[in-house]
Subunit: 222 residues, 2 copies
Amino acid sequence: MLSQSVEDYLKIIYKLENGGESATKVTTSLIAERMAVTAASATNMIKKLAEMNLLEYAPYRGVELTQTGKKIALETIRHHRLIELYLSEALGYPWDAVDAEAERLEHAISEEFEERIDKALGYPTVGAHGEPIPNKEGHIEEQIYPRLSDIEMGRRAVIRRVSDRDPEMLRYMDDMGLQLGTTIQVCDKAPFSGPIKLLVEADAEHLLGLEVAHNIFVDPLE
Amino acid sequence: MLSQSVEDYLKIIYKLENGGESATKVTTSLIAERMAVTAASATNMIKKLAEMNLLEYAPYRGVELTQTGKKIALETIRHHRLIELYLSEALGYPWDAVDAEAERLEHAISEEFEERIDKALGYPTVGAHGEPIPNKEGHIEEQIYPRLSDIEMGRRAVIRRVSDRDPEMLRYMDDMGLQLGTTIQVCDKAPFSGPIKLLVEADAEHLLGLEVAHNIFVDPLE
DNA sequence: ACTTTAATTTAGTCTTGACTAAATTAAAGT
DNA sequence: ACTTTAATTTAGTCAAGACTAAATTAAAGT
């Protein structure tokens, strides 16, 4: 059994490897920042993980998960996303609250528990914020959607995924009726990275700051 | 936030104080045995808990929870029993499996989670094995039921509580149709602590060893 | 190529909660 | 009352995973 800490590091490294657009190696300071520890602590753990063959480590150069490391990261991510969805669907949690709760629960559940909520949810493939859920074998279907901030004027699109990094932003989106599956239309884009004017469900109009629009991923319609 | 370990110690000490029939002080070795640690480790932790004013400690004499300690123990027990019941009711866990899963989850859930499952379960007062569930204020309604092993011949009774200490025994009970609410009748008691012949739901007959009968608590009918 | 800066690593410390081995205390038996 | 035994405590270690401060390395600028 791996420690909670090891699982968290692997999960975060996986996300850094796959989340970012660039293909650079994941650095110590990035890991430290996401784990909210000092760089020295991160270095320590990285060395330990390398020792355990969970990642390749070139001092000063960064880090790359091995197959084994990736597998464990994906198991943890699967737990996390299944729990999030369960909290949302079965217990009525708002989508801004599921991450924090799942963060602790993901390390405490058994395979049995995983299977039972997976079944209760009908074997879902997409999480509470639209993230793909890895399957039991550790396979993940990474969907690439354009950001709402990059959609051209006049275009309609369906919200498919949002970033779950900032709960407050999630609450803000929710307040404006922006949820998974919501159809929006880009009415107007102010120049110089200005706000976007949005028509939500052909109904309400909202001005959306670029930072928010940057964290919403959509499926453009025809 | 208290550590998982501290919560476990308090929980176990509470159960030792209240579970046993005798009113003796709880000893270091009892605690050590239940926590599956050495006596030296238990002594260490006891001193720490005394330092934190969670219990009164007289060296060589044993231990007694303070009000604060009791409160925390009961919160933990509440978590545990609510989770057990939720696993059983909402996720279909068999009653022999809920304890192990709840053991880990009880330390990972938030008050929010507690409230939501409490509500989903309809604010239950009795757990998956018939244990009373402490309320949010830390009040517990300890019901005293006689053991099935002490019921006189011929008498009918309803099963109200079982010990959850041994999962295998729970499975065995289940196999014989012995569940909470099951009505049984003591048909025959062999002498010299021999087995008990039982009529289950006026239907099936079973021979029950004394150890099992000792771990079943019943409500005798008129 | 040299210097400055920023990132990274090393060295040493701390806390938590376990352990073993040795010492001490209390209880029980004669 | 003395001795034996069983329980308990003390003393000293260990591993995990964090920290700070100091040293090192790589990258960037002149």
